[in-house]
């Protein structure tokens, strides 16, 4: 039986309930070749982010060195080692959005919520992310908040849109 109590002391987000689900993911996948990235994707879905303690735990479960896991986590932009906000704002940095003025939208968000790209607000309300082209260039400039795509966003409109996400 893994030592859940120890983990929650190291990181309060790794509660026994959360870790039971992590165990289930690891046990289901560990015999499949190349399972590491899908396992990490699923575990991040459960925990919300990928802290070092969790990486070590997954490494032990899959019998993969933590250094390799750290290498994978830091390589792919999908993984985050920092806690996430309740809402994720994804800003499309594709060419069409750039041409149509996404940079102005970003600077408005940054100054209003005192937040850097890639970070989360101190109240864990928003995480601000820059993403590669979302492929919705017909709607440029585009931001995605959680699952909602907002097209034709302007610096003037963005704060109104964000107000709705508590």
């Amino acid at each position: 039986m893994p030592n859940y109590a120890n983990l929650v002391m190291l990181n309060p987000d790794l509660t026994p309930q959360v870790m039971a689900r992590v165990d289930e993911i690891i046990n289901r996948s560990k015999d499949k070749p190349g399972c590491l990235i899908p396992v990490l994707e699923e575990c991040q879905e459960v925990v919300g982010y990928m802290p070092v303690e969790l990486q070590k735990y997954i490494g032990d479960g899959l019998d993969i060195a933590t250094s390799i896991i750290y290498g994978v986590v830091t390589f792919y932009s999908f993984f985050s080692m920092l806690p996430r906000g309740r809402h994720t704002i994804k800003i499309c940095m594709g060419t069409a959005c750039y041409v149509k003025g996404i940079a102005e939208v970003v600077s408005r968000i940054q100054s209003e919520y005192k937040i850097e790209v890639g970070r989360t607000t101190t109240d864990r309300r928003f995480t601000l992310e820059a993403v590669r082209c979302l492929g919705a260039c017909g709607l440029a400039p585009v931001i995605v908040i959680d699952e909602d795509t907002h097209g034709g966003v302007t610096a003037d409109r963005i704060l109104n849109i964000l107000e709705k996400y508590e």
Binding site: I37, F75, T95, A96, R132, C137, A155, D156
Partner: protein, 595 residues
Amino acid sequence: MKKHRADLLLCGGTGCHATGSLEVKSALETQLARHKLDQEIRVVETGCNGFCAMGPIMLVQPDGIFYQKLKATDIPHLVEEHFLKGRPVKKLFYKEPASAETIPSMDDIPFYSKQQLIVLKNRGVIDPEKIEEYIGRDGYLGAGKALLEMTPQEIISQMKESGLRGRGGAGFPTGLKWEFASREEGDVKYVLCNADEGDPGAFMDRSVLEADPHAVLEGMIIAARAIGAQHGYIYCRAEYPLALKRLEIAISQARQHGLLGEDILGSGFNFDLEIYQGAGAFVCGEETALMHSIEGKRGMPRPRPPFPAQKGLWKKPTVLNNVETYANVGQIILNGADWFSSIGMEASKGTKVFALTGDVNNIGLVEVPMGTTLRTIIYDIGGGISKKRKFKAVQLGGPSGGCVPEEFIDTPVDYQSIAKVGAIMGSGGMIVMDDQTCMVDMARFFMDFIQDESCGKCTPCREGTLRMLEILDKITHGDGEPGDIELLEDLSKMIKSSALCGLGQTGPNPVLSTLKYFRNEYEAHINEKKCPAKRCPALLKFEVNMEMCIKCGICFKKCPAKAIAWEKKKTASIDKSTCIKCMTCISACPADAIF
């Protein structure tokens, strides 16, 4: 099957979802039920129909009436008028921007009528979540023919004769690639589909996966038969949730129908495939990097040879093609190599799908025969430059490609002609730029992208692209010095000749091509500290030209910092101490009076 009086084909692509097609769908269903028409008229949610700028769009069949920019609030009126009283609603028709003429029928809209559809033939006409509808349009007949009537050698020779070349960017002949893999000994081989579409401004593959996922599966089954593979993967970006969902549905339906799994169609051939979700790394579009990623490693490329056809995924012979390539295969096998090679140009057969975006009226997905000119695509299909501005250049091939200026706008799109003018065909991104686009800033944008996505394995790409970005940053900030252009050229040559993979080898292309055609803009930034297109904030004064100001007050209303003073019938003026240089006024000014 139940017959309906009419089908309402409502676009359910990502673009139309975002503009509200799901609300329109539920409004349609409610209104049809209210008028007791729901047994006669069926609402079908299709994949991306291509005309994203006009979304949400709906095609009424069999009449062929095309409605655009629908809102849920339009629906009660629309249902009553069109389906109860038989009077199509004119104000929701498409309006041609040039002539202001309304066009009721989809086939008459220039955006559609000038296209030739092979890859996209099912777009907007089938429900992508129903395999029966794909089969009803000759789907899986090609796979049936390949599995039951042809030997693997015959499949490969058909593919070679067809002249199909890889649509992912490099343009390698598909049949040849398959032949290499088929010659390898061994029981275990893999067929992979590259759906890690990552070029900024490109959404061809996403649209194909959303509108016609079975076409991709069919191509993969045929490829598997040709090389003798039993297992396949579709490597798709996690950023494409709708495409992933539709692929999953398609795979499970194909299994239920005996088109995947053991003994496919009673042929004795076994093949199954699964989806692998990419975790967000542009370099994974490179074939060896993609394979490392499926193996659960950092997605870094390795030197070739050995090529994947010899040693690919888990060191086994592997064929990797992109989404659009596979979507051609079923029809080539069904209709024959001669049919396919009759379309297009001498060394570029078939059609190509482009994602037409940027400063063009008809943003959307376009499929044209190879050899169509850029002018036809941008002006006839694309409806010309938006906001009545002037065409400056078109960018092809994303961060690996280059831009084509106005003097070459009559260049036909085929692999050779595009390369001759300094761009590449690429995967199909086509970004139109108007005269307000700064080419130095554009080059900086692509270099920023490449530098960020460089995996860090080889020094030329990791260090070289960063140095190039620093120089471009310096130039756009007004700190450019004589010699910078030459240094950029030197670095470009060095990186192109020594980087490990395609990412680095092509990364300097956007800089080289803008230097080739717009060197004067670089020189203006460096020598005169001016940005001719007025896009680089550091090189702008943020002053109003009193003679050009039309006293409209738009800048005053839009300024977020309240730094602009204006009164009715007076020219505006900007207070530089409160101005945040956000560019809002410059973009908004209808008279180009702020400099």
